[in-house]
Every structure is written in C-alpha cells, then in structure tokens.
Symmetry: C2
Subunit: 191 residues, 2 copies
DNA sequence: CCAATAATTCAACACTCCTTGAAATATCTT
DNA sequence: AAGATATTTCAAGGAGTGTTGAATTATTGG
C-alpha cells in the first residue's frame, strides 16, 4: 500500500479533530502515520498546507450536503437545520475543531465567507432579489450559534437533544430570516 | 505608582485581546509591562492564572451589563441583544479573544455554562417554570451566533450594521425563544 | 538604623516546535 | 542491470516556550 500521503492525511484528520490546529504537532501526526516529520513537509509544504488540504476537502462535502438539491418548501429552515445537524453529528470532533480554527484564523474565516456564505447568498437571492446578504447573514449566524451551543460549548439540553427536536425549535427562525418580511433597514444617515 | 500588578494586568489584556491566549507569551506581556517575566508568575502563579484573573473580572462586567436590572417588557429580546451588542462593541477585540478561548478551553467553557448560562436560566425560570433550560439554551445560542457572525467571522452586513438594526432583526427571535410557546418536546422513547 | 518582609530580577533548565538540506533507500524506465 | 527519479529518513539548527529557585533590591515596622 503505497498510500503514504493518504495515511498522513488520515492521521492529520484524526489529530486535528482531537486537538485542533495549534495543539497538534507535525511530530505527533508523523508518529501516528508511522513516518518522519520531514516527509509531511515534503508532501504538503507546511503544517498550514496540510491543514488547508484537509479543509478544502471537507468544505466540498459541506457545500454538497447542506445546499445540494434544496427542494422549494415552506419549511426551508427545518430542512437546513436538519441537514446541518446530520453533517455535524456525523463527525462532531472534526467539525468542532475546524470551526474553532476558522474562528482563530483569518484566512480560514475568509474561506467560509467566500465559499459557504456566498453560496448561501446566491440561493437566497434566487427567491429574494433584495436583502439576500442580510438574510443569509442572519440565517448563518443562527446556524453557527446552534453549532456553538450544541457542539462546542455543550450547552444542555441543546447538546443532547434529538436532531428533530432542535430542527423544530431552530428551523422556524431560519425560515423567518430567509423568507419572511424583515424590519425595514435603517435609513442611511438617519438618526 | 506602585501599581505594578495593575500594569501587568493591563498589558495582559492588551496582548490577549490582540493575539489570544496561546499566541501571547509571558515574555511579551512582561516586555510591554516593563517587567521581568518571573514577576508575572509571582503575582498570578501561572500564565493560566493570569488569564483567569482577567476572565473573572470581565465576566462580572458582562453579567451586570447583560442581566442586571432587566425590566419586564414584551420586547425582552431586543433589550438583551442591544445590551449584548453595547457590551461587545465596547471592546471588540478583547471579547472576541475571550470567546475564542472559551471555545478551545473546556474549563473556560464550563465557566460560561455555570455562570452566564445558569444565571440566564434563573431569570427565565422566573417567568417560565418549565423548559427554562431549553429556552435559555436557544436564546444563548442565537446570541452567540450573532456574536460569531458579527465580531469573529465578520460576516457582512451583520458586522457593520448599526446595533439598533441588528437588535430589530435578532431581538424577536430571542423574544420568541424566551417567551413564546415552543414546539412540544419529543416524547422520550418515542419514535 | 536595623531587621523582617515584600517586590523584583537573573540565569538557567528542560522542553517542544517547525523547518532545512543532505544522505539513504526504494521504485521505475530503458 | 544501470541510471534516473521519487520517496523517505537522519540529524541538527535555531528560536521560543513556561517555569523555577536563588539572589538582589526596595520598602516597611519597631
């Protein structure tokens, strides 16, 4: 099995999920992969390069799993929340680690904005030509807050609730942000 | 001015706000405070001890500023959001750094749960004897999501919007979580 | 003024880290 | 089989870390 590069990636996923980007050392990844640390640099250029390779891969999964084939429905919020939870529940530790890193690393945050958020804006704009950015930002922040509470901070009963229950609670908020009338925006220059 | 301890704390706040807990070194704090690194340990025991001293102090400010003297009102959500934003807007970098750390550090996360969340639960329970935990968790996650979007990831237009506008958008969600009827909880053991 | 206590510094230990450049080993091509 | 190429290891550089314990300076109290 000449898949050394693959086994490095696997070890990296495992370690990053366990301890995050900063805490994980190339040495410990190399140890788990049964490989010399220098080899990782040979393949990925740098620790950051390894991490980014990982992120790109997962981001595609997220985009497909979250925004792929969204049927038109009145309960769009419930659907999005359910998909979001299904994704994240499938690999809690890894996603939590990725999310934490995105919050500490401007270049990752920027990736989130330009890929995930932008795609969401595009979908929203398809039904609402105006205020798509505002709606998408609000929806995304509720999604992220739910994730923080459930997966990162472990706030009960949110952390242990069944996905369906969470979707029933949070979904309507998303639906409102995405489809319902919003308060009139502040007039620029008004007081 | 024999306030060396105070100037260490000030330097620490500045540096932690700028770079976070891990990235900031005792040596650089000592440099800014014009002091030997060992002196910090003398006063605070450890790097973590210094950070915790800081957190305790700020947490009290937050609790007072957020949950102190809440008048009974129908628009409780707008009020909470406005207060939350006023607090955080007053020191964006520091709060963002504290929040990031809370997400990576279980003992800080636990502090958030046992202090901020618990206090919120107590307030909610005053008007809703049942489901206070569920309501508080939902409200807190929307607050945190708003914070992540606005301050940490910098999602537009949320990041640059006037506080009043954000309060008008997000407040009703909080009010709903806190005061309005929620979907019936899943029956335990049901399917 | 001198002893006791507090404040502060010095120097060093013991790690760990990412990264580098050259050396060794394996694989492939012809 | 031999030369070329890719893969992998070795050893070490060089910097930075938190922390410790003793030594030094300043401050206070009798």
């Amino acid at each position: 099995m000449g898949d050394t590069r693959g086994s490095i990636l696997r070890a990296a996923i495992h370690q990053f999920a366990e301890s995050g980007l900063q805490q994980t050392s190339l040495r410990s990844i190399a140890r788990e992969a049964g490989v010399d640390p220098a080899l990782i640099l040979h393949y990925f250029g740098s620790k950051r390069g390894l991490f980014l390779a990982l992120v790109r891969q997962k981001l595609d999964e997220v985009l497909a799993g979250l925004l792929g084939d969204v049927p038109p429905t009145k309960d769009i919020g419930d659907l999005l929340v359910a998909r979001f939870l299904a994704l994240w529940d499938g690999d809690r530790r890894l996603f939590a680690a990725l999310f934490r890193t995105a919050m500490s690393d401007e270049s990752l945050a920027s990736l989130l904005r330009t890929e995930l958020l932008a795609e969401l804006v595009r979908r929203v704009a398809a039904t609402h030509s105006t205020e798509a950015e505002r709606r998408a930002a609000l929806a995304l922040s509720q999604l992220m807050g739910m994730a923080v509470g459930r997966y990162v901070l472990g706030i009960e009963p949110l952390a242990s609730a069944d996905p369906e229950e969470v979707a029933a609670d949070v979904g309507p908020t998303l639906t409102r942000y995405l489809l319902r009338p919003l308060p009139p925006p502040a007039r620029p220059g008004g007081r």
